[in-house]
């Protein structure tokens, strides 16, 4: 297998690395970079556990060849702290306040139980609220349909995102 070098930004940090031909982004993140906050279940782009933000959009990292991430800005579930630690928001980064509000809302509404799907749910919810800060319940259901959860029955995930939207909206109103 031919190694190939890619250069990209992960959680705002520049990364230059050799990858294997056919290596998927999820394996690059989990195995090469040890960023294990991104989880894997179905491996075929259905469950949403491996959701990350690539150039601002949510993608399934199990379907994304690492080579296609060359030049991209990737944010993974661990990325919030790195973003908050920087003086200015890195390119492609979600607003750290939005990200934190989503995390806290998932905790408060218990939009999680076992937690294996949770990092992916949070990334998708951040992706949703970036695009649509005031989603209706139907819009939440539609956008989040690619993130499976077996524990919660989803109602608390809907409530988590509604609470996050409400708080995020409230913060904007006061600006």
């Amino acid at each position: 297998m031919m190694p190939q070098r890619i250069q990209l930004h992960v959680n705002g940090e520049p990364v230059s690395a050799e990858i294997e031909t056919g290596e998927m982004l999820i394996d690059f993140l989990r195995e090469d970079l040890q960023l294990t906050g991104t989880k894997e279940a179905c491996s075929i782009g259905i469950c949403g556990l491996c959701t990350v933000l690539m150039n601002g959009k949510t993608i399934s990292s199990c379907l994304m060849p690492a080579a296609f991430a060359d030049g991209a800005h990737i944010f993974t579930p661990e990325g919030l702290q790195a973003v908050m630690d920087r003086d200015s928001s890195p390119e492609g980064a979600p607003d750290p306040t939005l990200w934190r509000v989503v995390q806290e809302s998932f905790v408060q509404c218990e939009g999680l139980q076992c937690g294996i799907c949770t990092p992916g749910q949070v990334m998708s919810a951040v992706g949703l609220l970036r695009e649509n800060p005031h989603p209706t319940e139907d819009e939440i259901r539609h956008f989040m349909a690619g993130n499976l959860c077996r524990c919660t029955g989803y109602q608390s995930i809907i409530r988590s995102i509604q609470l996050a939207a409400e708080r995020w909206g409230g913060m904007h109103a006061t600006l």
Binding site: E20, R30, Q34, L35, T36, G37, T38, K39, E40, A41, C42, S43, I44, I46, C47, L49, T76, P77, E78, L80, Q81, V102, Q103, E104, F106, V107, Q108, C109, E110, L112, Q113, C114, G115, I116, C117, T118, P119, V122, I140, R141, H142, M144, A145, G146, N147, L148, C149, R150, C151, T152, G153, Y154, Q155, S156, I157, I158, R159, L163
Partner: protein
């Protein structure tokens, strides 16, 4: 009683593991990498039943990066299992199902391990196979195991059919045949339930490290102390030589009590001298783990002229698959079997469940094992009887409902049967929840009712408390949190008892050599078992602080923290330990009334579940939000089983071996859920609790089936209840 539509957002009492999980910091088995770790992979049988003539590993072994390839010849410990030891680590003479383990490799990377599998040459001699449980018990059926009664833990004898895994018969004093013959009306039918996967999103995985004296395991196992016990016996080691390290568990629903590939991973680690990680792909987990037993349940119900139940006869046959070793109970059967009809007053009852070996994926525990199969059959038949007798289905149930002070059909005397208040709560919920008008088209609406009663099961546990110099308390617990909120339970009880703000309490899952024993997270038992130990521990800690460290009532938080700090300074390093044996607990049950409302399209058979309303008898609640969500999530778990999930097996092969084909509910699929929690009453122990986890999902399939029958008059007797079944039944004017 509280009828709740939206649970309170947890503020101070939010889950202890919440922030770790939203940040992706919680470590699951597959997130762990050990130095010098190798990666395992399993070659699985493509045949449902085949003699293994030869295995040639030469070419595979020559692949650079391959460290070792093992077959059954390399296994020295023999078969294993949780109760019956009938599972070979690697198939010996024969492979017994599509997915049975034939050989395993250890390599320096997962990709090399997978590539090696393609280079192993196995010569098979396919044998006749049997896939259906009833056929497996017929006289000329192909035989899977030569002498299954000889396995350690077997419950059969050499006079039984060799394909019999187990049989339980339960009855009360009456003669069910006589009483059925004397009944004015007798209804009978047979119902089937599908094989369904637990659907935990973390597939089974394991890391094993073996040294001369010790075996270390990292695996998503929900009963680490029982696993340690099972492995120690199997490995012929002392329990203290086996360590099960705490890791987060990515969903359980009954499936994560099984050792699955842990013995094989140990064998690979032994053979290579390296730590080995073996992670099943999701496809492997769907085809070769331990899904729910498919069942065929024949029910006969006798009633008198006033619609009173006279006699119930339940005869179930369940598909146990190729091995029985994933079932933990000593009777190699399922804990929910006695629940058939237990929500009612029935003078004469007989229940039988027979589990057979077949050449299909081994079956194990899935949330409320046995209960779901029995409940769907009995509640469907009761509904059919009501409709036939032109009695309102709710009225017929109410007339026969088990009431406080009465014995259950099998003679259980409960402290309390809170059926009446639970039913009232359900009726109120229904009255308070209007539905919008039925949309235009051929939609017809229907309402389905079910009653359910579940006993609370106990277990044993031990906890340890440790003071810190900062005035905090560390609570060491022996069980993991597979999502149910068990760790948060410890913090909430201690916080309340000590009047210590929750941020001063740290709950930690102990290593297996730190505490004595624990039954694990199964049978919805952790709250029941651990709450008492935690309660006693809190009381003891207070009395130690009172007697020796200057704590005087009433105290402030600062005084308490100062006292804890003094205790920590004088502390000898031994935790304040409390063991609790809750195996012989107060006889407590929970009652549940569930109502499903559906609309069905007469033209296409499409079923829309509009909402599910459920009233639960729950006693005292310790983690309000987690408790609510355990029930709410369970209802959706039951909903998936009711209308979507069927791990289809054709000629012994799981054909739905991906989450693309095996559909579990997504956020777009779910109905609205409304719950009423009936608090109060008499629960278990000083915390006065009842179990919740498996109270939630059992009733959903029958409730939806009954609602469909109410809407369009079609009785669907098999799970899942799909549009296709309803469509063809409507077209042909019959039941499905």
């Amino acid at each position: 009683m509280s009828a709740t539509r939206t649970p309170p957002a947890a503020k101070k009492l939010a889950r202890v593991d919440g922030m770790l999980k939203v940040r992706g910091e919680a470590k699951y088995t597959d997130d762990i990498k050990l130095p010098d770790m190798l990666y395992g992979a399993v070659l699985r049988s493509p045949y449902p039943h085949a003699r293994i003539v030869s295995i040639d590993v030469k070419e595979a072994a020559a692949l650079p990066g391959i460290v070792r390839i093992i077959t059954s010849k390399d296994i020295t410990q023999g078969r294993f299992g949780r109760s019956i030891w009938d599972i070979p680590v690697l198939a010996e003479e024969k492979a017994l199902f599509v997915g049975d383990r034939v050989a395993a490799v250890a390599a320096t990377s997962p990709d090399i391990a997978q590539e090696a599998l393609t280079l192993i040459e196995v010569e098979y001699e396919p044998l006749p196979a049997v896939f259906d449980a009833r056929e497996a018990l017929s006289e000329d059926a192909p035989i899977l195991h030569n002498a299954p009664w000889a396995y350690r833990g077997a419950v059969t004898s050499d006079t039984d059919h060799p394909n019999l895994q187990s049989r339980v018969r339960l009855q009360n004093d009456g003669n069910v045949y006589q009483e059925l013959a004397r009944s004015k009306y007798v209804f009978t039918d047979t119902f089937t339930t599908a094989t369904r996967h637990q659907g935990y999103l973390e597939p089974h995985s394991c890391i094993a490290r073996v040294t001369d004296n010790e075996v270390e395991i990292w695996a998503p196992n929900k009963a680490p102390y029982r696993l340690r016990q099972q492995l120690a016996v199997w490995l012929r080691m002392e329990q203290t030589q086996v360590h099960i390290h705490p890791v987060y568990i990515g969903g359980d629903f009954g499936g994560k009590g099984s050792p699955m590939e842990i013995p094989l991973t140990i064998a690979l680690a032994q053979a290579t001298g390296h730590p080995v990680k073996l992670r099943m792909s999701y496809a492997e987990d769907l085809m070769a783990a331990d899904p729910r037993h498919a069942a065929s349940v024949t029910v006969r119900l006798g009633l008198d002229e006033e619609g009173r139940f006279m006699a119930l006869d339940v005869d179930a046959v369940m598909n146990g698959g190729a091995y029985g070793g994933f079932k933990p109970m000593a009777d190699v059967n399922l804990i929910g079997i006695p629940e058939a009809g237990s929500a009612y007053r029935i003078p004469t009852i007989s229940i039988q469940n027979t589990i057979a070996y077949t050449n299909t994926v081994p079956r194990g525990h899935a949330r409320a094992p046995g209960s779901v199969q029995m409940h769907f059959a009995v509640e469907s038949l009761i509904d059919m009887a009501a409709r036939e007798l032109q009695i309102d289905p709710l009225e017929l149930r109410e007339r026969n409902m088990l009431r406080d002070g009465e014995l259950s059909p099998l003679g259980d005397h409960y402290l309390e049967v809170r059926s009446g208040v639970t039913l009232e709560a359900a009726k109120k919920l229904l009255a308070d929840t209007p539905l919008p008008p039925v949309p235009k088209g051929e939609w017809v609406r229907g309402v389905g009712y079910t009653f359910y009663q579940r006993p609370t099961h106990g277990g044993v546990t031990e906890i340890g408390l440790e003071p810190t110099t900062a005035g905090q308390v560390i609570v060491h617990v022996p069980f993991p949190d597979q999502g149910g909120g068990q760790l948060t339970l410890g913090r909430n009880i201690l916080s309340r008892l000590l009047s210590l703000p929750p941020e001063n309490i740290v709950v930690r899952q102990a290593e297996t050599n730190e505490l004595k024993m624990d039954t694990g997270c199964g049978g919805s038992r952790v709250t029941v078992t651990a709450s008492e130990a935690l309660h006693q521990g809190g009381k003891e800690l207070l009395s130690v602080l009172n007697e020796n460290f200057g704590l005087r009532d009433p105290y402030t938080v600062e005084e308490l923290k100062a006292s804890l700090s003094r205790f920590a300074a004088a502390w000898d390093g031994n935790w304040l330990r409390v063991s609790h044996n809750a195996t012989n607990i107060e006889h407590v049950c929970s009652y549940n009334v569930t109502i499903a409302r559906v609309r069905v399209d007469r033209g296409t058979g499409q079923i829309v579940v509009e909402d599910i309303l459920s009233a639960f008898d729950v006693a005292n609640i310790i983690n309000p939000t987690s408790h609510y969500l355990q029930l709410e999530g369970g209802i959706i778990f039951g909903y998936g089983e009711a209308v979507l999930e069927d791990l289809e097996i054709q000629e012994g092969r799981v054909t739905h071996a991906s989450l693309g084909e095996y559909k579990i509910p997504s956020i777009e699929d779910i109905p609205r859920v409304y719950m009423a929690l009936v608090e109060g009453g008499r629960g278990v122990g000083q915390e006065n609790v009842k179990a919740a986890g498996e109270l939630s999902n059992v009733a959903i399939p029958a409730a939806i089936g009954n609602a469909v029958a109410d809407a369009v008059g079609v009785r669907v007797r098999s799970l899942p209840i799909t549009a296709e079944k309803v469509y063809f039944a409507l077209r042909d004017g019959r039941d499905a």
